[in-house]
Symmetry: D2
Subunit: 343 residues, 4 copies
């Protein structure tokens, strides 16, 4: 890379700080600005962050002509507006998932990005995990023959706070959306039908927010294979992220990454270590590869590794899953993206 | 055991021979008779079987006053008739699964057994597997807290012949019925709703018999927990029999039993042994424990470990799964057993 | 097998009873007699044993003209005398390890067996374990290339009583002798030098008997490869029986067999089951295969799978290991068997 | 850290570059200079290295008054001279292993460091591996009771070039020295006697350099426990770094870290991934923690985590192992460090 990419980050919560920290170790990247509505409370962090300026108003970043690329790490309901403004200013965009809670608004943002011709990457970090990408390769190269069944287990170590639940868009939009993307990524096929069951078994109070914390979601793929995702908001033993692709010539299984490879044998049995605690630990390397992919696409003007369409489709599956849970019957998913503005 | 139990076996196919072989090593059991419509072809086997007489006509066994207990290992469509006749003669009954393809006929058989007051055990051998019974104990003793999600993977090493498929009653009645029983056994709760998806992916010709070979079946339990079973008629790497019970305090996973514990490291990776090939190898010990349980119940006049009701309920779930597959929507399962004759 | 082999068993301790129990399930074998100096206390066991007569005096067995084969399961210091007498009477012999504590007496017994031309098998049961025999095959077929290093871990679940220690011949003769045989079996090569270190770490009182309970023994093989055995009289987590053959093209590792394949994940970690408790559980199948091999050799007049020479060589290595421990330097092992009587 | 530590690196080979790369991500560290006799060939690397100046002559670094700490990554035979010069100039020292090939020269360097009162850390990176440090903690906290047996397996993926072998000081000084340090680190006890066997099995040409490539080394510890290390210069399946600490209450085993957690089941078996290829991959995190520990000790004026004495003792064990291999008998190791100059 000869030219530096100048970056501004909107939102300095957990994920915004994570990306900033990872960017610091990348040559060819200059982190110029970060904005956050709670900027007043972030001064200590900012002082050691290596970022050049901190602002309360993300418009400063949008208007900064030196900034080439923007990372949108603010709450979901602000994404669409910022995408549209940033695209208009010709800035490349890295946006955390989900793009929005509204399919219409997501399409508006998509049109704005298409019109502006800027790069847009959605933050499906798991695609960059060494284990999942190895299984994707096995499926693609027919190492397990034709895919018949895809199984994904995805469990968080602890449930979110109830006020987070309230603003989360529901478990399918907030948590399962990663698994929906994994389903499309590993299978290389579109999800055409969803059937969801679930309940609030971890914390019954979650039901008050019209949400659940335990779910099983069946999937039908366009290529004829079938799949199932199971979720829980609380696996007391840690972040449980496993997957199995089963096909005509065998299966490929991703097991958890663990805290160590040590096993202790005692009178009580053989104790192995737990999975890495949560996504920061488990997907640490994946987060780094993810933004490397984004900057590579900018520098070499190639396709980003995870597209706007991927965000649209995962969102649609999440919406269909919610409808299925409410209606008690399977729901179809539209896989064509029609754009009014552009056509 | 002071008194010998005298046994007659109806049907000398694979499973009948298996039971006879296992009975030979049990003290307190005398295998007097075996019947099979193909008795003519069984002379060689019979000569070394240790059984006292071989007949073409199972009525000889029914009428033999010395025989205390009868093993029904003949084709499914003969079960109900034999059960009713044997019960009338006061013989204890061990019957292979499923009891029948018709829920009405199954209830008739149930009434006959109840009236006669004989012991009746259904052949759900997997309940006696050391691994599954350990997980059942963990669930029962709240070792994983409250059960939230139950997952069962059950795959055969190779698909059955098409003429077998034709007479099998379909994958749910023939194969998944074991998993439906496992779901009830491990959870200790009734299945109240089923949703099934699937396709003929292993062998498209199976579709000609209105059947499938790959399936995912969602379950709702009376206790509020949820479950999922995935089936395939062909796992090229062998008999795949795994299970996970996930709850509020952790999870219990059954992994496959393997041909050996040897692992070979080479330039290509680390090679572990495959699962035991099929049910004869995997459930070898379970088949022995199963009949021990039956004979113990006879000798000590206690309850059999696997009841007629278990057979009825598994059959109902199988019927509901088939209906769900055909209609594309979830189907409820009636969990009350109403008997007209007896009430 | 057309003709039955008639068997007499000398010694009805743990191992004698084990062999009798396994023989009961073999067709073609008739267990006629069992002798034990404590016969008075064995009446209850004998009544359900299926053996035809019980005697205090093994001479009855030696003199019984109907008996074809004798199992020597009595204390080590009685072996040589019984072997010589049985051989003279033309009886085939299965003898538990070690043959004797004296190399001269062992050679006398060997000569007697050679002269009589009877079958003689030494009870190195581990050769018949499915895991070890798989590794032996891998080494033989060069699946790991040329063998470079052989490592054996062998630990008992609990130390023997001190009065057993006193009569045991020491850890090398009593326990490690199995590992010395494994070293020869897996490598297919003779051990030519031994260096032993060790201490009484489990129970310091064992030192009073001039013995140790923890040992590491280095081996040099005739083929140029090297090996190491580590022993302990007490692994609190169960019977630890592992092995690694490392070569120019990879390695083959035998892991322990476990009580189940269940793993339980909780807040504390992931708990796997312990190894099978002791040799009766771990080598259950191997003990059956072992005597099948013996009876096959008799019936078909072929070579027994585990020869007299194997017993002689393992004993020599044990003697050399003891000398090495006492002198603190490596000790050579003579690999040629010279017979005065026969030559 | 308030004050920056200014660093100079002597030797820009593989390990020097590794440390420089890791230092770049540490706040509070400024890498001012790097020297290498082949500086002419390093210009391209230097341009992107972030180091301020490159020189052929390490004296420039020694004389640079701004430099606080020096990393000695040059060939072993240059270590002592540089240590003495750097200590005289009051610079803290991080030195790669081994300190030297001569025990006398090592003691001279030790005295120079003691006199100057500078920090000195030896590069035993494995102490910082998450797995080994977990086992060390288990041993220290008596999690496995009293240590009885320590077993270390250490195998490289491929043998070094013959010209490297010639200058390496032999396998014990070059490769096993890490395992000797591990033995002391895990046990928390001194090695008092060594017995070594081995041969040139991977590449017979290594014997021409009076060296071996396959070894088994027995250890006696001051605390009464015993140990064994096995080495090979070539494990075709990758870098094999395992360890077992066995004690009165159980065992703690370190298994290899692997390229992924994916397992592929096929007709041929179940394929797991190989170990991480070599030390750069396996000990990546450990190398970072290692230098963090060094800089922390400088900044807070505390003890370095891996001392000069550790280097001296590992070197002595290596010398004793070589003598044992040559003489064929066990060799004692002196565990007292006597300093003439200082006392």
């Amino acid at each position: 890379m000869n030219k530096q990419v100048v970056v501004g980050v909107v939102g300095a919560g957990r994920i915004g700080k994570l990306h900033i920290n990872n960017m610091k170790n990348l040559s060819g990247v200059r982190i110029k600005a970060v904005s956050d509505v709670f900027a007043d409370h972030l001064q200590d962090w900012f002082n050691t962050s290596g970022v050049e300026y901190l602002t309360k108003d993300y418009q400063e970043i949008i208007q900064d002509p030196e900034i080439d690329a923007i990372f949108i790490c603010s709450p979901t309901d602000t994404h669409v507006e910022i995408i549209k403004e940033a695209a208009k200013k010709g800035k490349h965009i890295f946006c955390e998932k989900p793009i929005s809670f509204s399919q219409e608004e997501t399409l508006e943002a998509y049109e704005a990005v298409k019109e502006a011709g800027v790069k847009f990457q959605i933050g499906f970090n798991r695609r960059f995990d060494r284990n999942f990408s190895k299984v994707r390769a096995a499926v693609e190269e027919k190492g397990i023959g034709d895919l018949h069944v895809l199984k994904i287990t995805s469990r968080d170590p602890e449930p979110p706070a109830l006020d987070y639940v309230e603003r989360s868009g529901g478990i399918f939009m907030d948590m399962t959306i990663h698994d929906f993307d994994m389903a499309r990524f590993i299978s290389g096929s579109e999800v055409i039908e969803v059937f969801a069951t679930g309940a609030a078994l971890v914390n019954p109070a979650i039901a008050n927010y019209n949400d659940i914390d335990t779910a099983i979601i069946n999937l039908k793929f366009a290529n004829g294979s079938i799949g199932v995702i199971d979720n829980s908001r609380q696996a007391v033993y840690g972040y449980d992220q496993r997957l199995e692709a089963f096909g005509s010539e065998g299966s490929a299984i991703v097991n958890n990454e663990t805290e160590s490879t040590v096993s202790i044998s005692s009178r009580n049995g053989i104790q192995e270590d737990k999975p890495l605690h949560f996504f920061l630990e488990r997907y640490n390397d994946a987060f780094v590869k993810e933004i490397k992919g984004f900057f590579d696409a900018i520098t070499h003007d190639t396709e980003v590794p995870c597209q706007f369409q991927d965000g649209i489709m995962a969102q649609r599956i999440a919406v269909a899953a919610k409808e299925s849970l409410q209606t008690g019957v399977p729901v179809s998913v539209e896989t064509t993206i029609k754009l009014e503005l552009l056509n």
